[in-house]
Symmetry: D2
Amino acid sequence: MDTGSLTRLVDHLIQGGVDGLFVLGSTSEVAYLRDADRGIVLDTVLGHVAGQVPVLAGAIDMTTPRVLDHARAAVEAGAYGLVVTAPFYTRTHPAEIVLHFRTVADRTGVPVYAYDLPVSVHRKLGADLLLELAAEGTLAGVKDSSGDDGGLRDVILRRRDQDLTAFAVFTGSELTVDSALWMGADGVVPGLGNVDPHGYVRLYQAAARGDWATARTEQERLFRLFRLVNVGGPRMGQNSSAIGAFKAALHLRGIIAHPATALPQLPLDTTEIARVGRHLTDAALR
Amino acid sequence: MDTGSLTRLVDHLIQGGVDGLFVLGSTSEVAYLRDADRGIVLDTVLGHVAGQVPVLAGAIDMTTPRVLDHARAAVEAGAYGLVVTAPFYTRTHPAEIVLHFRTVADRTGVPVYAYDLPVSVHRKLGADLLLELAAEGTLAGVKDSSGDDGGLRDVILRRRDQDLTAFAVFTGSELTVDSALWMGADGVVPGLGNVDPHGYVRLYQAAARGDWATARTEQERLFRLFRLVNVGGPRMGQNSSAIGAFKAALHLRGIIAHPATALPQLPLDTTEIARVGRHLTDAALR
Amino acid sequence: MDTGSLTRLVDHLIQGGVDGLFVLGSTSEVAYLRDADRGIVLDTVLGHVAGQVPVLAGAIDMTTPRVLDHARAAVEAGAYGLVVTAPFYTRTHPAEIVLHFRTVADRTGVPVYAYDLPVSVHRKLGADLLLELAAEGTLAGVKDSSGDDGGLRDVILRRRDQDLTAFAVFTGSELTVDSALWMGADGVVPGLGNVDPHGYVRLYQAAARGDWATARTEQERLFRLFRLVNVGGPRMGQNSSAIGAFKAALHLRGIIAHPATALPQLPLDTTEIARVGRHLTDAALR
Amino acid sequence: MDTGSLTRLVDHLIQGGVDGLFVLGSTSEVAYLRDADRGIVLDTVLGHVAGQVPVLAGAIDMTTPRVLDHARAAVEAGAYGLVVTAPFYTRTHPAEIVLHFRTVADRTGVPVYAYDLPVSVHRKLGADLLLELAAEGTLAGVKDSSGDDGGLRDVILRRRDQDLTAFAVFTGSELTVDSALWMGADGVVPGLGNVDPHGYVRLYQAAARGDWATARTEQERLFRLFRLVNVGGPRMGQNSSAIGAFKAALHLRGIIAHPATALPQLPLDTTEIARVGRHLTDAALR
């Protein structure tokens, strides 16, 4: 594993001004990383960050026992908290999803954030479930990557109405960050933030000081930049195209040494990579 | 792990007359087993079987690199072949699914069987893809648990028309085994076969000697028995109910010592277990 | 409307030996027919059949009040019974689907057959619901076009176990008719039967006299013929390709004068129509 | 049909300050209205409005020929424009959806608005398709009820970048109107607007004058009010619960005489209606 590129990426993000890191999320290719490689990622990042910002680690696997193994590795490596989806591959009842999060929280003793990612997990975490787990102290927050901003707002309003202010609500939707913050979300955890952390930090800071027009302009620039995820087109999976484009962009920006993606993802060809470059130019990133 | 129960289950199946074993499939709770536990299962079963019948091992994980780790462990433990799904959790193109199976076959050197399980993987393996991989020698066969018997027949007929006789077609649908064999399938890999291997063996043998009426009568008895998977009802996930019922039945039949299921599955209660018992009685299994 | 072609099609089917007709089903392009055209179809077919065989009529629309309008028109035209789906477009509870079928049966006074077509209606009619409605006399039968032969068998076995012999079970799956009859289905209502009614009648009659090998051979020929539904490929919808191919085949066989399909379906081009012709030749239909 | 209630509802909306009306949309129970009843609605509303505001009419049916019949009736009744979904029940290719909208626009000669309602139509209208049809003049606008605010923003930004300013973008999501307007949407067509048009007008007007804090406060009040759609809970379909609640609220507010809903929707009971009343009280609507 090219840990030099990984630490350069971490530096790029911290210099970009991020308030924290989320390692082993979708954009990390967590689904493609062998357990040994996940361990190297954890050790490399946590060693390099050395407490400058809190680091949350994804513990992504099918069910509770397997998630617990990843969770323990992350906690041992020094992660501040864990990001956990509902079980997938199996057919699971909401009462069992509740039990899943409770077990992970109980047995690890660190903050646990629910990861709502229906495109991968094939189910939505509803506001009832999230807020029940928030109220009892099981969940420290949620990363909502569902794209359902009505549902996101439901969580935000009920959090306020029930005085669950300790429960953090992050959006994972790169395209509606200004409006998510406007509704009351606490922050954003964007895959595209790897390519342009400065942009998302400017967006966030503008919103934080109430300069919504600047936040929107920044969001619109990032929205257009985000279209680079489509460079692979219909000849490959959406994962390959998006992750391939993020890596190509980081390579073109000089952050990482190799834009290779894991099997079985198809690689971008030179035409597609050139298109990524034009997106960077249009977004004033090179 | 209660390896004594596991070897008793293996004996139960072999004494039942099965022609082979599939370990680390859905009914094994593979999705819930930690890697260390998967290793114990492989070592226990392969050591105990000691070559009496061929053993196929599931290598079930999200993507190629992770599947390869499981595959290597299974091959080292002595598995005859591997059973592999398409990638899940990620969004994958058919060309990438092809690359996935090719990579696993190339790097392991043992027979690879595709596992078509849309209820878990959220996509169907089509006949075009399967037969392309059969023709080039990548796939040794398929376990079709899709419940789409029209699609199963498409594979069977095209196998015949293209003279791909080495490609094995197994159904994983417990409820239509007589008709799958009638269409030309080579066999069945039934979860319910853990509970009543003798029944499925009788069904298969009746079909093999052309006594279809006996095969149908046996299938109908097994169809009614299969309803035990619903004892948990809507209060739990379908996995918990089915796996819980299979284990309760094996416990009631004296094969396994404990009917416990893995987290986050809810356990069956005593009323539900009593209903499993009545299903066994109705099926003349105790 | 070209009623001459329609009556020739009816003659073709009756001379083919069918036991009944289903008008205004999916293959009739019912979803594309204006109400006035549906009326012409009903009048033309029922006038021409003149009692030679019973005629069931589809009453296909979104909800109960709209279905009732179609149902009344069909009954007035002389249909023997009605074929009705669950509501679609709306989000409907199973208790409301029950109310839907009860209302249609109560207000029309003719036999009502449930049409289980998840590919269009986006839900499955389960065995519990069907048999509840069978037991109380609301439903006279079901046309199961779900492709779920395990579910079909559940209905068939529970019909037998509950002595609901008056409840008719038809499969709508063209590809597994021999096995559906083997399981105990009463018959088949195949779209492809428009192209080759003689073949499906031979299949049915072979099964009825217990000559299952002949039934299977006939089914396998029809299975291969059915592949004509794919001639349009990915450039058009599956409806356009299938209905276009059925019509092209009927045109090539000299039954109908024009193979035109309704808007917004794309028409087959000459290459695609030639492919339909080759399918007919391979199936010995010209 | 209780046309008195219908005209009182129209008055309620116009007095509430709406800029236009959309009749025969989902909340009108269009899916449940017989054609004759749809005609009465059109005549009643268009006669009563008498040009005070523009009236768009839904032409909701499965395919082009059937939509055209509804479209002609609406145009004859005096509708300013039409609201049309993609075909449903059938399996339709994007090229056929394009042909569908072109045919309706060509043959009716009035402005046509696409209705993006995946929950009913089971597909999403993408930005590519919408903007192609906007650029060529086929579509006058879109009502986006998909809940996908990232997709909505894509349409809004590309409209701006391609100078398609004549193409109107309305959101149909009651819960994120402030943010949709913030992104650049032109307005909202909310089902809940029947219950509280004044609230949505205040929200819109606050946004229009740049007073976003007031818009948000109003939206949050309406968000909480919207929860009345859940009063029916899991014992009925979501349509019955939402439409039943809207009607109960209009009845409690004295606008309509009867809160009855069409078959096969289950009616709300008195407890559920009382809950609707409490929602009105909480929202200061009585």
